[in-house]
Symmetry: C2
Amino acid sequence: MDRIPILKMGDLLLVTIQVDMHDRLAMALQDDLTGRIVKDKARGVLIDISALDIVDSFIGRMISNTAAMARILDARTVLVGMQPAVAITLVELGLTLHGVRTALNVEQGVKLLRQQND
Amino acid sequence: MDRIPILKMGDLLLVTIQVDMHDRLAMALQDDLTGRIVKDKARGVLIDISALDIVDSFIGRMISNTAAMARILDARTVLVGMQPAVAITLVELGLTLHGVRTALNVEQGVKLLRQQND
């Protein structure tokens, strides 16, 4: 497992994070995603973390950085599928996902991105 | 990692397989997926295997079985994102994905499912 797949849905890209992120995987994801935003002319990125039980500061920072990169390339990022326990932990640890909007699930995330782009 | 996330997109469900399947994970996926088909009244299932470099007979059978279960519940299954090397290996090994339709990517898969349901 050396790459996280990026799925294209119209002008949106969907990334499902299922495995523990480590440095190299995070770097590869950012490389791939920025490349795909340009190549596919994507206007939005959905990052699904419904499979993650834990979001630590490393993953949080990785998500924030990825969103910042996407933003520079004119694509908005929405984080979807966060588990309740993850939301609790994020607040308790004082971690903020700077510059990242969230939605309950992929459908809501798509709706949010469509509204912004209209 | 004990669950593969299932994403809902309209009346379709999307499963992205990123990790090596083992018995328990495959069983959990089939349980979850059949449950979600009923709960969400899904008409189609997209299984993305773009992250898989290898599809062996175990994964092949798991995909076929999952598609058969979905079919009984009145949902069609489309396998998307197969890597060229995987297609070569499947044919060389004589593995057939019985009852499973394939599409190049998620977008094409969605189109295929929409046509069938019209």
